[in-house]
Symmetry: C2
């Protein structure tokens, strides 16, 4: 089965549209972007290898390239809804394309995104509150350090979805079968266990309203490399804006292990 949905979504973003991508191009794999100078590429790749739950690598480009086999014809400089540009760990711009910001030495990392497993969760009957409420997913910086790699260090970032207890088993099992897009949750229940003080105040994305019996379930999040950029201050980096992902032509099923 082929689908035009990813290409059409990318064309809308290329023409300037922006906004969260959760729920778009059903069944197609979404990816986080982090591009760093070639001099930092080994540290980033090693950081991802050492922290595979938050940073499952789907593809790495050659230096300067803006194409990927995950979406033939796509342009990584224009086809995401919104970008963030970083200089020495400081956010300096949030444009809808980075054509003028591109550099010939940038190596782009495409990292699995939890939006990918939301389709598996929805198919298993798990309600997705943020999509029901038309909001971006809620993301939080935790007190858990990632394992450093070279000059890169930083905290684990998680996304949170409130899950009714009767759907917990399905939510955990379905995501566990997709390890390339963060896999099983890193934590369920008390946000304090991750050093999160207040679920109503996410560090990225929108607060999401939970039903009274819902359990907060936390998955490792592909914004983690962005937190590493903030903490480690490479001279230059380009990332996606949290929740505004790169939509690939890849199918979620192809990352399912069994």
């Amino acid at each position: 089965m082929t689908s035009k949905a990813p290409k059409e979504a990318r064309a809308r973003f290329r023409s300037g549209e922006s906004g969260p991508t959760a729920g778009q191009a059903a069944g197609h794999t979404q990816a986080n972007l982090v591009a760093v100078p070639a001099d930092w590429a080994y540290d980033m790749l090693l950081f991802c290898q050492r922290n595979p739950k938050p940073c499952p690598v789907l593809d790495v480009t050659d230096a300067g390239a803006w194409s990927t086999p995950l979406a033939p014809g796509a342009d990584l400089r224009t086809d995401l809804p919104r970008y963030r540009v970083w200089e020495h760990g400081e956010l300096v711009d949030e444009p809808t394309d980075v054509v003028a910001r591109w550099r010939g030495d940038l190596v782009s990392f495409l990292i699995g995104c939890s939006f990918t497993f939301e389709w598996a969760l929805a198919s298993a009957g798990v309600p997705l509150r943020h999509i029901e409420q038309g909001r971006n997913v809620a993301m939080y910086v935790t007190d858990r350090p990632c394992r450093p790699a070279g000059r890169l260090r930083g905290p684990l970032v998680v996304s949170m979805r409130p899950v009714p207890p009767r759907h917990l088993a399905a939510a955990i099992k379905e995501s566990a079968l997709l390890p390339a897009v963060h896999g099983s949750p890193v934590h369920c229940g008390d946000p304090g266990g991750l050093g999160i003080a207040d679920l109503a105040r996410p560090d990225f994305g929108d607060p999401v309203e939970a039903e009274p019996d819902d359990i907060p379930v936390f998955w490792a999040c592909g914004v983690t490399p962005q937190a590493a950029v903030m903490a480690s201050r490479p001279p230059y980096a380009i990332t996606h804006a949290p929740g505004q992902m790169f939509i690939t032509d890849a199918r979620d099923e192809q990352y399912r292990v069994a």
Copy 2:
């Protein structure tokens, strides 16, 4: 549950014993070793990322280090049964330790090994012919190219196990649940489909006798980076000898996804 078996096996190899490690230290994760100069480490890490079936990375050391969190106290220079030393892609030595061969710029990659999932196969009742016959597993160079990375290229290498048809489903399912140690088979049946001319003449390891109804089942193999060293000729490399693996303290279960 802790076990002294991995430490005891490493101590035997440290004292000079050598030979295939299949069937040793039950339930503990075995790893392939490939160490390259730091200047080649990014190419190797990217090669592994682009070819995750043959090259699932379990750990990467800092340059010069011979320790790994996968086996605290172990010495990567002495604790494998046998090594191979490569200069410009040519095999120059096969010693039982590499203390005198070590260099301060070597980055070591520990890569998942199919011996790890043999315990899952055995638990599911799948017969393992090579262990029954006291032989090393049979490994073959295929005609399938790996996706290149920088200066590294080379063919996919596979291990083969003859599996009775009634055990095929279990063999495929059990290995699929362990993607960090090669996961599901890359091919079943006709060896010609992988460009393998004669199962009786493996490129590495020993020929294994099959029962008449057995189907040859091929899994991606961690000797693949060694084939890349032969094809790509980095100035220096140290690897394990095929089938003579590094036995870690990690437990096979921890790599199981569900």
